[in-house]
Amino acid sequence: MATATETGVKKNFLTGLKEAIAEEMESNPNLICMGEDIGALGGAFGVTDGLIARWGRERVIDMPISEAAIVGVAAGLCLNGKSVMVEMQFIDFISCGFDQIVNMTATYHYRTAGEVNMPMVIRGPAGAYGGGALYHSQMNEAWFANSPGIKIIVPSTPYDAKGMMKAALRNPDPVLVYEIKDLYRRRDLEEVLPEEDYIVPLGKASVRREGDDLTIVTYGQNVYHCLEAAKNLEKEGYHVEVIDLRSLVPLDEATIIESLKKTNRLLVVNEAPMTCGFAGEVLSRMSEKAFEYLDAPPARITRLDTPVPWVKPLELFVLPSVEQITEKALKLIKY
């Protein structure tokens, strides 16, 4: 039988996620999937396609449109020995289940002094640039980064998507997965995935491009904006290091600090609102911990402190762009 690796079948980001969930459902009989329209439809984007045919409603549960109950029921399942994958149809709707996440689920282990753990993955399509407007574009990871007890990951490649999703589904703690929907089917990201079981552990950043003139720290689809900016800068003779965080909580500070020792310049890029966003968190930590390595003011490029508007020119106006990144990078390098 030909394996993917042998035949070199390239797979997209969404396939990576899909395979991860399907394989974990196969290997872990205690894993339950819950969400809206995840059964016969296979979810709004098809991530759970085929699961109901294989496992039935017992383990793949089409839920009423009740985000709070979905998370809360999942918490009860975890309390009683199950693991749960919760799909938010769009990550934006997580606000409707907010209390059950931050106050019930995230604190459960803490409140019980370790008696109870919550192996729950909450995942869903996220991110802007696609014309989704205010409620189908959010990156609201900072709400949860400021809510102790939740791990947060944002993979950006098919390989990471599969490996981190598997790691998340095996993790004993609640893990939020921001799936950048604009990456789901991007052809240029397709890659051959290992045939054998593998995971990408949480908490490790990935250096996506090496360089010694500037460190750009980013994650999600902004990785590609930054890589493009880095390519532009390469043409002008500047070597930019691009770090893809992949995991926000826990954060791989060591990799960033190592890089700063070399580049002495930091730019953080993400597409969430600026104030109290995760870009600022990276900037803060590095200002505190790597101050001595910084030869220029650390900087961030984020979404403006606005919602994500709908029509293209407005949407692009409020979001980080390759041009903005390139320009800022040059300024920092030349500082």
Partner: protein, 375 residues
Amino acid sequence: MATTKTDPDQRHNEGREPAKLASDLLTADDYHELLKQLYMARYFDVRLIKEKKRGRLRGTLYSSHNQEGIIVGALYGLRPTDWISPIHRDMPAFFMKDFRSGWDNPERVGMTIEEVCGQVWGKVTSPGRARDNWSHIGSRAKKIIHSTSMLAGTIPAAVGVTLADRLNGLDSVAVTFNGEGSTAQGVFHEAINFAAVEKLPVITIIENNQWAYGTPTHYEYSLEDFARRADGFGIPGLVADGQDVLDVYNKVCQAVEFSRAGNGPSIVECKTFRSYGHGDHDDDRAEKYRPEEEVEEGRKRDPIAIMKKIMVEKGFLSPAEAAKFPAEGKGASEVTDEDFPPEVVAYLNRGVESAVNAPVPEAHEGGMWVFREEN
């Protein structure tokens, strides 16, 4: 409708009709107007689908095809001063609000077709300057509440606007439109419970089209008639045939009368069927979860056809006239402009033209209006 909320006969109204129907007072002209409005709503839907297919539109279309009886019937029972809160599947409601006052009446308290098309095309003429998408528009002046995407999320606001009106001595009501799936949201419960406590004039219309995206009703709630949800709040729950614009009109009028008399909120369940996929992106996938036979069965009762039949029976329409604009039963790909009354087509043409010619908002508007007081 009974004034005591605990009279079980009144709460379980199916099969019983009150002594006098609101529709008994409608004239032949009203019937013709209602029929034309059904055409208008239908035409808006199929025309948009065509425009999208031609690549002229971005964004998702949530077809109201086959559900027009609810929009038209409900709006026809309202006063200009009443509030409405339409959602994703109610796009025609924005410009059809207060149509009864005259489609082009400058005093009409509803959006213009130019405004709504401006929104669909993403132009500056959109009431929200195209900052949010789809049906997420509204107008304080026109008494249309601006929804977010979060289902059932505007019911509290509907309760709030009526509370303000009551404080100001007004007797307006608010009518919210909701898919049956959205009723599973906690905020639905919180808002209606408070409206019941305060006896606020909020009418919750349930467009029960049997599906919430890919989920059938038996996974959404456990009731024969969703209207029985009302019993749990101690408020009336009516059931209407959503395919019969007159039945919707009657039940909404009943509910409105009950509310205006100070008796509080109610729920009106309108039974209907979603013709197409959840959104146009879902049309090809809907067969994954929805059997072909169910779709065939569900589409059988077209609100235009039903209204024509009633009008022929009443003698308001000759069989020949009834055969004239045969839009009923046809999908967007089968229908042509000839299937609609020309004034309907012209009306929408005006909107489309205006939208096509209007400019897209300038980029920097993206940074504006986060706060009113910029400091």
